[in-house]
């Protein structure tokens, strides 16, 4: 147990910090912020990802041969800390990095690795996730989107839903049914689908925040080359489980913690300055207790991730404990945004560009967005089932 960093790790931190100071716009996080328009913001975030790549900071712990930096998970942890410190924007191609890339690294062919991984890192190809369907959410194995192998192509028909960032994506990985005549887990395959393929239509869905981050995705006789399957035909469930382990795992949690920590720090700074009566918003004793609990919980999201990293670095398995990671961060963050609304007092409902709104309405937007945390990547109830049965060994 030692939190001291080696000289090489410190060197990594300092060179990243220096790079960040140059790469972000002047006054970033103080006077200059993300564009408020949803589309412009997405473009800005994609640009930022390209910049990170050009600077050599994409795929910190991915193998060098596919364009990564070949560093350790510890350095990945440092990377997250420095991104938080610099208030760097959140990436959009998270699905590409954390889900597609990791899944292809684990199960893909050499040709697939060479073809897909470098373009994820360079953000030439943004990815979306085609798992959920209108009738298959928590019960993911009951997906019905059909893929039939005809010659050297799969023909895909059906519908996916809640496809986040579909509108920015060049590629989609999808869980599809290749065999309807066997038990539901045994007839699934994992396909990589070019979003430019004829027959794909997207329909945006509006979210409670008012944004349009996710979509319905329709597949109408979409042709997918047979070599774009990951794993075996009808062997897709195993591959999808790997994807979910990464989706719920410590790298994902740590990436998100960057934003939670930034916003919590920003909240605290706002409350210290915001006048209320003879004092400031921070003085409210009941709120102080809640703020402290959130400070602890958001910090623990990071500590939990680092503990998992150490386990993985010493050869531990990724497994059901990813569900523990996900359950924890989602509720910690959701609580934090509730506390933010409590703490803001009378100005809490004021949002967006209202002149009295705090921090350009960021806390209100995040509060809305946080309602999804306990639903996507497997709802909390599903995580609790997994933890109860697979970690604690309770009967089904």
């Amino acid at each position: 147990m030692d939190f001291n960093y080696s000289p090489a790790e410190t060197e990594f931190r300092l060179s990243l910090r220096a790079w960040l100071a140059d790469a972000l716009p002047k006054g970033w996080g103080e006077t200059v912020f993300l564009p408020s328009d949803e589309h412009e913001q997405a473009m800005f975030r994609l640009d930022w990802e390209r910049k990170l790549y050009a600077g050599g900071w994409a795929g910190i712990n991915w193998p060098k041969e596919y364009g990564g930096r070949g560093a350790t998970l510890i350095e990945r942890g440092i990377f997250a800390e420095e991104m938080a410190r610099a208030r760097a924007p959140e990436p959009i191609n998270v699905i590409g990095h954390n889900l597609t890339g990791t899944t292809i690294l684990a199960h893909g062919t050499e040709a697939q690795k060479k073809r897909f991984l470098p373009k994820i890192l360079s953000t030439e190809e943004v990815w979306c996730q085609g798992f959920s369907e209108p009738n298959a959410g928590s019960d993911l194995a009951s997906v019905r989107t059909r893929a039939e192998l005809k010659g050297d192509k799969f023909i895909v028909n059906g519908q996916k839903i809640w496809t986040s960032f579909g509108q920015y994506s060049q590629w989609c990985f999808a869980l599809v049914r290749t065999n309807p005549n066997v038990p539901k887990h045994k007839g699934l395959s994992f396909l990589l689908i070019d979003m430019k393929s004829p027959g794909i239509t997207l329909r945006p869905l509006r979210q409670i925040s008012g944004e349009y981050e996710f979509n319905e995705t329709f597949f109408d006789n979409v042709e997918v080359p047979a070599e774009n399957i990951v794993g075996d035909i009808d062997g897709g469930w195993k591959i999808a489980m790997t994807t979910l382990t990464y989706e719920r795992g410590p790298e994902d949690a740590l990436g998100r913690q960057i934003r939670f920590k930034q916003e919590l720090d920003q909240l605290l700074r706002t409350l210290v300055r915001h006048q209320r009566g003879a004092g400031h918003a921070i003085d409210e004793p009941a709120v102080r207790q809640k703020l402290a609990k959130s400070i602890a919980e958001i910090e623990i999201v990071r500590l939990n991730a680092l503990r998992s990293f150490s386990k993985l670095e010493s050869g531990g398995d990724r497994g059901a404990d990813a569900s523990m990671t996900k359950l924890y961060w989602s509720h910690a963050a959701q609580n934090m945004y509730e506390v933010a609304m409590d703490a803001l007092g009378p100005i809490a409902p004021l949002s967006g560009s209202d002149p009295q709104a705090a921090a350009l309405g960021k806390f209100q937007m995040s509060w809305f967005q946080s309602k999804a945390f306990t639903i996507y990547s497997g709802s909390s109830e599903i995580q609790r089932n997994i933890i109860g049965e697979r970690v604690l060994g309770l009967p089904r």
Partner: protein, 373 residues
């Protein structure tokens, strides 16, 4: 950077847990069943020499090396004097004069000197700065409460205000003017006592460390290690609950198959794991005197306090009527956890301190940012 315990740290925890398991009375239902030989057994194992530097005959380890052992002390409801003695050892190692170190540490290493910490007072709150105990002209007057294991201690570590501020004083338990009276309280096995100091004459060497500094270290180390005691208790209660959930049947199936219980067990497991992350980091920060030592300590104590409370309560609920029986002895963990929650700062006090430390950190960052610009 490595956030995992090494083999020796893990094996020390296992060894202490196994030794304590040989003293089942420690966790039995009755409050008057002492385990008189447990101190001696721990001493023979060498527990008390671990934090003592090699020069004084010890192993020269740091608190972080003992974290899992302290969890085992917590989960086995070991006598409170054990942790008090480890805390005093750390304080003497870090802040003692050469003379204090040379006289006290070898006795500690051999298990011949047992400590109790006299901190709180009935009419003051958890903030040590508010205490009324005073040392004036070398004479101590104080009225302390909830001094764990005081009746068994040979040496009392007393927190009192001296000429130069709030200090830690070493006072032998048997000197004139010291009166030790056991309390009536929720956990008699913690040995809580009221301790009066009426005109107790202190000798020159009584003051341990610089006023202000030593007490700050004591609070941080104590908060971190008491968080470890709490995770130890919580872990044991959760194991017990899960075991019961697997075996007890109602409606023709194990109760653990009901989602209402399964989900709460899952939540408890996640809370416990998270309390451990906070606790392990805090003990490391105390061991290294890291710049965020106080913040980490308060975070751990407050968080682990909440988690231990949640898990003790839920574990009793999950056992139904059995959980409420004296004989199942779950009450022993409930009692001890509540005492520890109120030792070395409550959850609310540590939360407030955590917020203050965090705001100070942000202000310093902003200051540094302005200076750089």
């Amino acid at each position: 950077m490595n956030f995992a315990f090494d083999e020796e740290q893990v094996s020390l925890g296992d060894t202490v847990a196994r030794l304590l398991a040989d003293h089942p009375a420690l966790v039995g239902p009755d409050l008057d069943q002492a385990a008189p030989t447990v101190w001696q057994a721990l001493a023979e194992l060498g527990l008390f020499m671990l934090l003592v530097p090699e020069e004084q005959g010890g192993a020269g380890l740091a608190p972080i090396d003992l974290t899992l052992a302290v969890e085992a002390l917590g989960g086995s409801l070991a006598p409170a004097g054990v942790i008090a003695t480890l805390l005093a050892t750390d304080l003497i190692v870090q802040h003692g004069t050469p003379a204090q170190r040379d006289t006290l540490l070898p006795q500690i290493a051999g298990g011949d000197l047992r400590f109790a910490v006299a901190l709180y007072e009935a009419d003051r709150d958890f903030d040590p700065a508010t205490l009324g105990a005073a040392v004036d002209g070398g004479v101590l007057n104080a009225s302390k409460i909830a001094v764990a294991d005081a009746a068994a201690a040979q040496m009392l570590l007393v927190i009192a205000r001296g000429r130069d501020g709030m200090g830690c004083y070493l006072v032998p338990a048997d000197v004139a003017g010291v009166t030790i009276t056991p309390h009536e309280d929720i956990d008699p096995t913690a040995g809580l006592c009221a301790v009066r100091f009426d005109g107790v004459k202190l000798d020159e060497s009584a003051l341990l460390g610089a006023p202000g500094l030593a007490i700050a270290r004591l609070i941080d180390t104590a908060a971190s290690l008491h968080a470890a005691l709490l995770t130890g208790i919580a872990s044991r209660m959760l194991d017990t609950a899960i075991e019961y959930a697997k075996t007890r049947e109602q409606f023709g199936q194990p109760i653990g198959s009901f989602q209402a219980l399964k989900h709460r067990c899952a939540d408890m497991a996640v809370s416990l794991d998270s309390a451990r992350s906070a606790t392990y980091y805090a003990v490391w920060a105390a061991s290294e005197n890291a710049s965020d030592r106080a913040r980490a300590a308060s975070m751990a104590k407050a968080y682990a306090g909440d988690v231990a409370r949640q898990i003790c309560n839920e574990a009793i609920q999950l056992h139904g009527g059995m959980g409420f029986t004296w004989d199942l002895a779950l009450h022993r963990f409930l009692r001890r956890a509540k005492v520890i929650e109120h030792a070395f700062g409550s959850t609310a006090w540590h939360n407030e301190r955590l917020l203050q430390e965090t705001l100070a950190m942000l202000a310093a960052e902003d200051e540094a940012g302005r200076a750089a610009a």
